[in-house]
């Protein structure tokens, strides 16, 4: 045999198994045969345990968890709290405890029973700071849990906590099979999730692909879709082309630039929902010039938010009129944002800054954490330049961004930083408390997300009131007043609230896009 042929043979021999293997695997999966729904996600799923950091990545892990696990309570597509594993619940008048009556005859994927003891074990697991270091504001208020009988659970709180139902409906409220924890170990659940949801685990390639299959023993009856496949597709345009060719049936995070094109495709449907995540530039209130309210107002006046919403986001975003998004619980409209560069220049020159002697700011932004982040940052920097503010953009890698923002006082290097918070339990109180409640110690790291070190004792008092009052009207009032105060204080350069845009093939029904950026395929059929 000629040596050249020999070499060629070796080459082919090397390639063939790899390619064939890949293609066979791909063929086996991309067969969107009846009953298989494939979801191309923008972030990858790495862990599937509500504890130990909760489901990573975000939101993909949560989206998968919504199908794998049941929680005591659930959200419907309008973010109202509805029963799931708990048939009914009752918050005590003083908001110090909650009694839940569990559904009967619920089994986990491994066959064990989901009863009050199982629920108790789960809540205690989530209460434990070492095992569940994330989402603490949701779980810290819980003092203990009792299971007087197999179908009753009583949760006791440290202090009045009106948002308990939101915690139980939150993704991290997923109920895991205690037997599975025994079997796989406390840390093994991340790769071997066993819940009581309509789908159970078939195979998991962390960071790449997750396959779930229908759980016939589901209390609500087996789901119509037989197989759910979650695929990680980082690139937006590749996600879109995958949807177009049919290799996936649903995608999330559709680039707004493509929406028009996609709408014209008869095989596809665009599914949007108003977002719950107002995005803006947090202002570092430690910096001298930024302590001046007029300067902050000027910053806001300089930015053409309407144009950004219309042009950069092709109309799929709205300028906010309150620190909360439009359909968060407790939202109250305060006032519209104004675009007035002349007034902005005036206010700034009063403070001593002009285009000749500009205010120098460090602008932090990341790449891919928020929609259009770099483009918007560039637009804002350019707009600010025209009124006498020189903003230098520093792009921080995704992984280091949160840390860069949440530094202690001495190390916070940013003056304005893009940020947006998604209250994944849809609670306006949770949102405002996370961002605007005074930090315990402003010299150290912020408690939650009050990265700008905002401090307003009246706002603190109102938030406290809302937290402790069982009367929904008083709660709404307190929250409303808090929003007005925060809006007037202008601790942010407010930008926009993006719509959540997902897309699916027309043959798919039942895809819910929740305002908290979750695309829920639990009830979808293909």
């Amino acid at each position: 045999m000629k040596r050249r042929d020999f070499l060629t043979m070796i080459g082919a021999g090397a390639v063939a198994p790899a390619v064939l293997g890949t293609s066979i695997r791909a063929l086996a999966q991309s067969s969107t045969g009846a009953g298989t729904l494939t979801f191309g996600q923008s972030t990858s799923i790495v862990t599937l345990d509500p504890a130990y950091g909760a489901f990573t990545g975000y939101p993909s892990g949560y989206e998968a968890a919504l199908c794998l696990y049941d929680r005591l309570l659930d959200f419907d597509a309008q973010m109202k709290i509805v029963p799931q594993l708990a048939e009914s619940y009752e918050m005590a008048g003083d908001l110090m405890s909650c009694k839940l009556t569990l559904r009967k005859n619920v089994t986990f994927h491994d066959g064990t029973t989901c009863d009050a003891a199982a629920v108790k074990g789960n809540i205690e697991r989530m209460m434990d700071k070492t095992r569940n270091p994330a989402n603490r504001p949701l779980w810290d208020p819980i003092a203990g849990v009792d299971a007087p009988d197999a179908a009753t659970v009583i949760i006791r709180l440290r202090a009045p906590f009106s948002q308990l139902p939101n915690t139980l409906a939150h993704g991290s409220g997923a109920i895991v099979s205690p037997a599975a924890i025994e079997k796989h170990g406390d840390k093994g659940i991340a790769q071997n999730p066993v819940g009581a949801g309509p789908f159970k685990l078939k195979s998991f390639s962390p960071g790449q692909e997750l396959t779930l299959e229908a759980f016939d023993g589901y209390w609500g009856g087996p789901p119509k879709t037989k197989t759910l496949i979650f695929k990680f597709i980082a690139e937006p345009s590749t996600r879109v082309s995958a949807l177009r060719t049919g290799s996936v049936d649903v995608i999330d995070a559709v680039p707004v630039a493509l929406v028009e094109q996609l709408r014209r495709d008869a095989n596809l449907q665009i599914i949007t929902s108003p977002g719950l995540r107002p995005i803006g530039f947090a202002i570092n209130l430690d910096r001298e010039p930024l302590k001046n309210l007029k300067v902050r107002q000027a910053l806001n006046l300089a930015v053409p938010v309407e144009t950004i919403a219309q042009k950069v986001f092709f109309g799929l975003a709205k300028a906010p009129d309150s620190p909360l998004a439009f359909n968060t619980t407790g939202y109250r409209s305060v006032s519209k944002l104004v675009y007035d560069q002349v007034k902005a220049k005036e206010l700034l020159s009063e403070a001593g800054f002009t285009t000749a002697n500009p205010l120098k700011l460090n602008l932090f932004v990341s790449d891919g954490l928020f929609p259009g982040d770099v483009s918007v940052a560039e637009i804002v920097a350019s707009a600010l330049k025209q009124v006498g503010v020189d903003a230098t953009i520093t792009k921080i890698e995704r992984g280091a961004y949160w840390d860069a923002l949440r530094q202690d006082r001495a190390n916070a290097k940013w003056d304005i930083a893009m940020f947006g918070f998604n209250p994944s339990n849809a609670s306006g109180l949770y949102h405002l408390a996370s961002l605007f409640k005074s930090n315990a110690d402003d010299a150290g790291r912020p408690d939650v997300w009050n990265i700008g070190r905002y401090r307003n004792p009246e706002v603190d008092r109102l938030l406290d009131e809302a937290d402790k009052t069982p009367d929904p009207k008083r709660q709404a009032d307190a929250l409303g007043k808090a929003q007005e105060l925060i809006w007037a204080d202008t601790p942010y350069i407010w930008l926009q609230i993006n719509e959540n845009v997902s897309a699916a093939r027309r043959s798919v029904a039942g895809v819910e896009v929740w305002p908290i950026v979750f695309t829920n395929v639990r009830r979808s059929t293909v």
């Binding site: 680039p255 493509l258 042009k311 560039e378 953009i393």
Partner: protein
């Protein structure tokens, strides 16, 4: 060693081809240098001026190469980007030249333990693909024009040092070197006045080719988002941010890529032409 081009050139290259390469290379690079120098005088618009009502527009009379995702004129950005790209490429090649020559000279001439340690280090670094090394350095130094330059320099020093060392090893055995030593010439004078000049032709050719590589590596890093900070118009970063609009506005990706290709072509032509001219039998 991955970027050193191995080529058994034909025994007698035709003079026409050699001259053609040189002429092309110098012409292209001259044009780019002119654009880089004249930069701001040539741009029809301010490269950072955003026209929010004209996003992602294709080429037109008003904007010869169209506008980008925040309404900036692509042609203007390309022109200013020339300066950035050339500056980064030339600086990193110059820096790696100095460092590589120093390292190679020392290792090659002194031999012994110094040589062994240096060679071990160089060979070790050579096993890491240059892009990977550059990415690692950028992630540590930070993404900026300086960071890019440092990263590219770091990935070019090993192959350059190796090349110089090899040449020095050859030259060390030459008669005139031992002659100079016998008459008591100091080492540094010997190195600088006699050894180095004879290694120069090889070094210059390699540097020209490395400059092309520098543009490629630099723009690759920019493409990956590890390049300069926004809104600086570096070509690779422009390509990187055009990716998400490939479906709706493919024109965004065409111009910067073409620019990179032209720059690399220029440097490659220069290097090839020089190589053919200096030593047609040279095998690198």
């Amino acid at each position: 060693m991955s970027e050193l081009v191995l080529d058994a050139a034909p025994a007698q290259p035709r003079r026409a081809r050699r001259n053609l390469f040189l002429i092309l290379g110098v012409a292209v690079l001259g044009f780019l240098a002119a654009v880089a120098t004249l930069g701001p005088l040539l741009t029809p618009y301010d490269p950072n001026e955003q026209d929010l009502l004209a996003l992602l527009e294709g080429p037109s009379a008003a904007h010869w190469f169209g506008t980008d995702q925040v309404g900036r004129d692509i042609l203007s950005r390309l022109i200013i980007g020339t300066r950035l790209t050339l500056l980064i490429a030339i600086t990193s090649v110059a820096a790696s030249g100095v460092l590589g020559i120093a390292l190679g000279l020392v290792a090659g001439y002194f031999g012994g333990l110094v040589d062994r340690v240096a060679t071990a280090l160089i060979d070790l670094l050579l096993t890491i693909p240059s892009i990977v090394l550059a990415i690692a350095v950028v992630s540590v130094v930070g993404a900026s024009a300086t960071g890019l330059t440092v990263a590219i320099t770091a990935s070019f020093v090993p192959p350059l040092a190796r090349l110089v060392r090899g040449r020095v090893l050859e030259l060390r055995e030459e008669d005139y070197v031992s002659a100079a030593r016998t008459i008591g010439m100091s080492t540094s004078r010997l190195l600088l006045r006699h050894v180095l000049p004879n290694a120069v032709s090889v070094i210059i050719i390699e540097l020209s080719l490395l400059a092309g590589q520098a543009v490629l590596v630099g723009s690759a890093l920019g493409f990956l988002g590890l390049g300069v900070q926004p809104p600086d118009p570096e070509w690779g970063s422009m390509l990187g941010s055009s990716r998400e609009f490939l479906e709706v506005a493919p024109h965004l990706a065409m111009a910067p890529g073409l620019a990179i290709t032209v720059a690399v072509f220029g440097f490659n032509m220069l290097g090839d032409g020089l190589r053919d001219r200096f030593d047609p039998n040279l095998v690198l």
